[in-house]
Each structure stands twice: as structure tokens, then as C-alpha cells.
Symmetry: C2
Amino acid sequence: MNQSQYPSALLQKAVTEISRLPGIGSKTALRLALHLLKQDVVEVDALADSIKELRHNITYCKVCHNISDTDICEICSNSARDKATICVVENVRDVMAIEGTLQYKGVYHVLGGVISPMDGIGPADLEIESLVERVKQGGIDEVILALSPTMEGDTTNFFIYRKLQDTGVKISVIARGVAQNDELQYTDEVTLGRALAGRVPFKM
Amino acid sequence: MNQSQYPSALLQKAVTEISRLPGIGSKTALRLALHLLKQDVVEVDALADSIKELRHNITYCKVCHNISDTDICEICSNSARDKATICVVENVRDVMAIEGTLQYKGVYHVLGGVISPMDGIGPADLEIESLVERVKQGGIDEVILALSPTMEGDTTNFFIYRKLQDTGVKISVIARGVAQNDELQYTDEVTLGRALAGRVPFKM
């Protein structure tokens, strides 16, 4: 669509800004802009203000680097959580996913990404040094590596393992295998191979 | 995803606001919110401000009701356009689509929707009365109905036709038929039936 066809410079500007968001093209951006035009001013302001406030006022937990409204997040400041177990994750969405299982009672360390040379993300861009510091300060029994089983995740796992191996802390990695309800015939070879190699004694 | 799992009230608020947008669920909203957190403050402010400015400062052309930055839009104030031909469309996106053909030299009338009882949109919610007024003021040769060939579009066409039939203005409707590059075997029966019934003399 020709940019000069927009009937209004205000509309064009909003569409340009909205289409900068990932996964939103200019047609979707136009649809969203026209939708906003039909909404109450109060609602549109609420959206715009919530975005600004998020960006301006967000803080990160000084301990685990998760998004937080306070200096120390709710998980790190919860006395019921096991502070000796650290689960290393890529981002806040992974924290939310693990919290959703209601299975984990330890604390987290949010890296803020994974090592990805293709995207120009190296170890120094991530919260790896702060993890090493946290472990070296003592009181940690186990570090659980819970990154996605991708090439970047594996690279980051390996890098962290090398950094921590001399500290004597127990380092584990989440189990990889066939996902619940996946059909074996459609499971890829790597997953199936790893699931076979990583077989465990059967329990009832 | 449980709302209470958000690690920050600011994040939760932004996700709630973003997920009010049509076609954006809470997972996409979270992805967008986390993306915004990684962007420069300047860029996030530009997005939020462009949305606010769009909603607060937008005006509509007093003649054709298209979105405009001025009282009379660029098309209506362009002396090269044929003011005696009015193309009736649903919204600004249709104006942009027709302008994109570079085929049309008349002016527009933007209804702001189509009659849709299911969505609670009646004739009074649309710019139909202003169209009738515009035609009655004289100087109009032809009104081209260019609404989508849906039940709602057809209903609206019929309603406008009834309102204008006594004015003596020529009322036409855009051609319906098999779309360019569509394969006949995959064309639905209604379209194909109409295309047959509406056949025209072959021209080289």
C-alpha cells in the first residue's frame, strides 16, 4: 500500500509506529489504528499511558533480574521459597510458565535472553556474571538450567556450566524427552533419540 | 494463564490494555509488552504519543466524512476531481483501496460502517442521512455503491437505493463477478451464478 495514500498524516504516523511492533504489518497496524479511532478517548489514553508507564517505571529484581514492581521481587522476598535452588531461565515468560506448574518452590535467575551470535547477543549482554556472583556468595545447593532445547539454549547452558563447574554447586538441566500427549510417530528423531538415551526406570 | 502470575502490576496493566485490541490475545499482548520493555524510551513514547494524538486530534472531512487532517479532505478540495460522481464506501480502508487503483476520479462518501443488526448498527449510526442531503443539494450525476458484497453490504445498498430513488440521481453498483486470477473450479456458486447472469459482450 502506498504510504502517500493515507488520508491523514496523524493516521499515517500512528500506523508507522504501530507497525514497528514485531509481527504487525502495515495492514494490521491500519486496522488497529482505525479500531482505536472508534474507541472512547479514555480507553485509548489508558492504553497509551499503560505502555508509557510500563517502560518508564518498570524495575527489575536486584536478585533474580525478573521484572518486578519492587527492588526485590515477590518470589525472592517470599520466605517460603527455597533460596538454595536457582532455576535459570531466559525471560519472564518462562518464570510465568514454571510458576504455572505449581511444582517449583525454589527461586529464579532471569538471563534476559540466550547467547545468539546471529542476533549479536553475547554472554556479556546477559545476566550470566551476576549468576556466577550469586553462586559464589554461597548458600546455593543447585542450579537448574531451564533454557529452551535449541542450539542457542544449549550453547548458553554449556557456557554457564563452564563458568560454574569449579564452584562445586550441583548443576542440573530440565529433562528432555517426548512431550505429554505427543504421538511417537510424529516426534522428531533428535527428541526421540534423546528420550531413548535418557530412559529412566519404570515406576508405578 | 493466571492473571495473578504476572510478576508486576505495571506489566499486567499494559498486557490487559494491549489485549483489548482486536485480534490480540493475552499471550501476544505479553510478547508485545516485553518487546516494548526492550526498546528505547523515546521509541515507546513515540508509539504511545502517536496513538493519543491520532485519537485526540483526528478530524473527519465535513463533506465526505473520510478521515482527514483538515475540515475538507484533500480529495474533496482537489479541483481536478469530478464532484458530480460520489462513490459510497464503508470506511477509509476502502477509499485507500479504490485510490490505489488510480482509476477513479470522482469523490467519496464514507458511511463509517454498514447496516448490521447483529452488531447493533442501524442506518442512524451511519452517514446515510448526510449522503441523502448531499445528493438533494444538487450537482450530483451518479452515486456508485461500492460496499462489500456481503449480506450487510447488500442490505445497506438496498436501504440507500430506497432513500435516493426519488432524487433522480443515477445509482450504480460496482460489478460483481469472478475475481482476476481466481480459478473457476474454486469459485463459489453464488459468485459464479452472478457472473453468468451479469455477462457482458466480449471486447478485444
